[in-house]
Homo-oligomer: 407 residues x 2
């Protein structure tokens, strides 16, 4: 199951970035499982990585290489089928080996190849298979291959995920294209998935990193499927500069415009993950308003978004406001005055001042809950801060998938 | 589904406590749904209540009455089928009304009747039906009715839960008997369920409260089914003094003996809840050793015990150590050195120093995971503190139950 539309809009190529997806047989035959993104020498790359204390070998290496090469990555080397996580020193050697091979093949230094892996944890990476597939990948590099790459990085995803946006500035066009993968083991801190985003804007390394951090904070760090943070998550942002448009602090309007564009693209990608959440029947927006600070809004939003009882009620299209109240009540907000709390389901007032709203009818609630897109709005009445989190329901299919897939 | 044995051992009567269970038709016909426990004038009662900010009306009232009557409760009035939660001022009036009626019927003051409700949230309590059932309950009071009471407080429970323990002291016997209910919406903070425990020991109010608090901390506050804390949880401890044995600080040996007895009874009751967890196929003990403090041990234990991915792997009898590692890694322990971590599945070393244990075989892991009782032991290598938490798996049946039951 998944929610939302099936088809991907066209993904626009980014000048300075070429892509190939090939079949290396990492875990399964006849499946595109190795993706190479080749970046021009002008490209600058920023990255944000998982906060999980158990980092997979490629995450450790990509973070290290990004630093030592000062963002001058020339290749992103991505495989699915094997996460190269929990593999110790052997895993580090295998990841290094793959990067080294591609570096030798292309004449760049090893730390200009950043590795990314997703798939089963705890099995040795078949580095040989990946290395063997690299010459074929070099031959297949093309600018217009984003869709293929989006397919090539899928694991339990049921559909490829990507988005392109652009803006005009003084007759010149800037484009941003991104792809992402992820369907389970999804929870912020950061970005519990892989995402690769590129733009043809010209952006210096430090600003690029700041733009990425902000965009991730309000997109991938605002989604949850099951509260489980993976060991392999990375989100990379590449700026090729090929459009000739420079983004920097001298033109703050353009910077703000670009930042909005990037944030919206990231939010769009993050939402696609939730649409494709394992076993999802519902796409749920949890908006918490009236908080004293961001942290308490997020506590309430995640208590709701990760409550198995709220999530199973969502699956059942049951407007079970008692479970929502109970989740808010245990969210750990100090001195919460429950008599100030309102809850809205779409436009319908469900709870008013901590009790059932006087005009609410079960038929109203049912009618909204039976839709695929559900908006829950909580008013805390404590201040002016708002936060929004996106999540899915918890269905029998989620259990079926995760009781059979060895992730 | 449930795990462990089906049958309840005999529950021993406690002199000074009489019990009746009657059919009041609160939600369903032909079901014992109102339980009255009548306490002798010598009884002292202690209580611990839910930490959820949304407290049900009976919780608010029971806490208040327990204080104003200084623990001299004469009746505990329990109903299932309706939690009287999220019912505002009306709910308070309904709860007060029930207590007042029983007080008038029996000639005690209203604050000597403590109300407890469990069941559906957000619907008005049918106080009339409960009041109408009270005279019949008075006629049915008997000392040996604990099993009937255990059945009378069930909601989604598939079996009654109770335990009796006793000890001899200088030729005199002290007995403790307790019953509990709960199967979903189970998570500490405190005691996400109802429990009623009585002893014939003679214990002053303040000590009784302290003994209860300690016992709850290591029993009901160490279990989780789904991380959802309910709005109605209460655990009450009654001491009738009828045995003539005084427990106080003058005989510290006896006090320690009794405290152990009580703690073990409470742990036994808490474990029964986990055995009967909604949809449970597995009874899982998560022991975390080698922590620097209790809090970090509990963070790790709960990250594992509440991870949907670990729980679905348990359902599938899959020794998926990658998911356990990932849960530990996101538990939020500062400066966690993953290279020190060992994981044991029963007696089998699964992870050694952060990587797969060299001698581990999948067959070993599978063989232990296929059992009903599973013990996970995590060694953090940071200090000397240990904590143990009990949990269940996450099965399709859990989703089915909670996608249909309106709790």
């Amino acid at each position: 199951m998944a929610t939302g539309k099936q088809d991907l809009d066209r993904l626009l190529p980014i000048e300075g970035v070429k892509i190939a997806a090939v079949q290396a047989g990492v875990r399964y035959a006849n499946r595109y499982d190795v993706v190479v993104m080749a970046l021009s020498a002008q490209c600058r790359t920023a990255g944000v990585f998982t906060q999980n204390a158990f980092c997979a070998a490629p995450v450790v290496l990509a973070r290290q290489y990004l630093q030592s090469s000062q963002g001058r990555a020339r290749y992103l080397l991505i495989n699915t089928g094997n996460a190269n996580a929990g593999t110790g020193q052997q895993g580090m050697a295998d990841a290094r080996n793959c990067c080294q091979s591609l570096a030798e093949l292309t004449g760049v230094s090893a730390d200009q190849v950043l590795p990314f892996s997703t798939g089963v944890i705890g099995e040795r990476l078949p580095a040989q298979k990946i290395v063997a597939a690299l010459p074929g990948a070099m031959d297949a590099l093309q600018a217009d291959n984003w869709l293929m790459a989006a397919k090539g990085i899928m694991t339990t995803d049921t559909r490829p995920k990507g988005l392109s946006v652009s803006l005009e500035h003084q007759g010149q066009r800037i484009t941003v294209t991104g792809i992402t993968k992820g369907a389970g083991m999804i929870k912020p801190n950061m970005a519990t998935m892989l995402a690769f985003v590129a733009t043809d804007a010209d952006i210096a390394q430090e600003l690029l990193q700041n733009l990425l951090r902000t965009a991730v904070e309000y997109s991938f760090n605002r989604i949850t499927v099951d509260g489980d943070t993976s060991t392999n998550d990375c989100c990379m942002l590449v700026a090729s500069g090929a459009s000739g448009v420079v983004i920097d602090e001298t033109d703050s309007d353009l910077l703000a415009q670009f930042s909005d564009l990037l944030n919206n693209l990231m939010i769009g990608l993050a939402r696609q993950i939730i649409h494709d959440a394992e076993g999802a029947r519902k796409f749920v927006t949890v908006q918490v308003n009236g908080g004293a600070d961001s942290q308490e809004c997020l506590k309430v939003a995640y208590a709701i978004a990760e409550s198995p009882l709220v999530k199973t009620a969502l699956t059942a299209s049951d407007p079970n406001w008692g479970r929502i109240l109970a989740a808010i009540g245990r969210a750990g907000v100090a001195d919460l005055n429950v008599d100030l709390i309102d809850i809205y389901l779409g436009d319908v007032a469900l709870v008013n001042q901590g009790g059932l709203a006087p005009d609410y009818t079960e038929a109203q609630g049912q009618s909204i809950m039976s839709q695929e897109n559900i908006e829950l709005r909580i008013e805390l009445g404590r201040g002016q801060v708002s936060e929004t989190v996106w999540t899915s329901d918890l269905s029998e299919e989620y259990v079926r998938i995760n009781a059979s897939y060895r992730s």
